[in-house]
Symmetry: none
Subunit: 159 residues, 2 copies
DNA sequence: AATTTGATGGTCAAAGATGGTCAATTTTCT
DNA sequence: AGAAAATTGACCATCTTTGACCATCAAATT
């Protein structure tokens, strides 16, 4: 198994339903996994970004730490935030996929639904002779259309 | 015997009745057969396409892999029909939505999933300054991408 | 109070590990 | 011979891991 995946799992195991937050020591964790300390940063940078629904806070020097917070918000508010702040008029496939992953992790959509959404925004679909800016604009429109649909649904179910 | 046939056999032997899925390392396999790594891609591209009833998933970089999924006979037949006959290279929003409705009626997708799919192909998303032919081509690509993803989840088998 | 020191975490670029593409060449089939 | 299939290799793209060097903070020392 990949080191980075192992570290990701380790951290996510600490962030259970109750625990919205976890604090760790970079060097300790690196030692535990027998790797370079910067490997920890790599994992945080690729799997615990705001795009993924996490916020990082850290401090250097003696008694330093890294704290990871999982963002929690009301479902519909979150969706509105995602819609207006994050998608906007244009979005890359990577950003879009991160956003979908987040919806899945937050259990706003099922994993099957997430797979469908990713299929609809993945770069491969857009390999047609059109400018990249147009691709991202179209992707944004499609993603927003889907998000609206989900928001509409959750308004009538629960959450 | 041809190399490509040998590799094809090798992979198909791994995909027995029980095993619906196999994971391999491109370079390892190439080394085993003492051939160029790209030969593996050739075999996959010519003998393990959706048309042949397979779905491929891969990842690059350290710990990379290639996974091959075998679809049920029913699944691949229905998928082929949808992909080639119904969707094709271009599809209107009306046709697309009709197709999605049918998938839902046949309980191949849930109504939530159908709603997401419709949101992704609806005409509104595509109201940008691009030719109608491009819109329909893009819509076709997106719909196909989604259909492949659904086949991947083997949802066809129980309808 | 200012400085030094040790303990932390951060950055970034390079190296390593994979898989992907494409076009040229060779082999096989008709 | 000509067309189709197979094979290879050069070059590309992506993801991971590491290490050298930098920045910051708190406590000890001057």
């Amino acid at each position: 198994m990949r080191l980075s995946d192992a570290i990701e799992q380790f951290i996510k195991t600490m962030l259970t339903q109750d625990e919205q937050e976890v604090e760790l020591k970079r060097n300790e964790l690196a030692q535990y996994f027998n790797c370079a300390p910067s490997q920890i940063n790599y994992v945080l940078a690729t799997r615990f970004t705001p795009d993924h629904g996490y916020i990082i806070e850290s401090r250097r020097g003696g008694g330093g730490y890294i704290r990871i917070f999982r963002m929690e918000q009301d479902t519909s508010e979150q969706l509105l935030y995602l819609l207006h702040e994050r998608v906007g008029e244009t979005i890359s496939s990577l950003e879009a996929e991160h956003l979908v992953s987040q919806l899945k992790e937050r259990e706003i959509v099922t994993s099957d639904e997430a797979a469908i959404m990713k299929a609809a925004v993945c770069e491969n679909c857009y390999t047609l002779p059109i400018p990249a800016t147009l691709k991202d604009a179209l992707r944004a429109r499609i993603l927003k259309s889907i998000l609206l649909e989900i928001a509409h649904k959750s308004k009538f179910s629960d959450a």
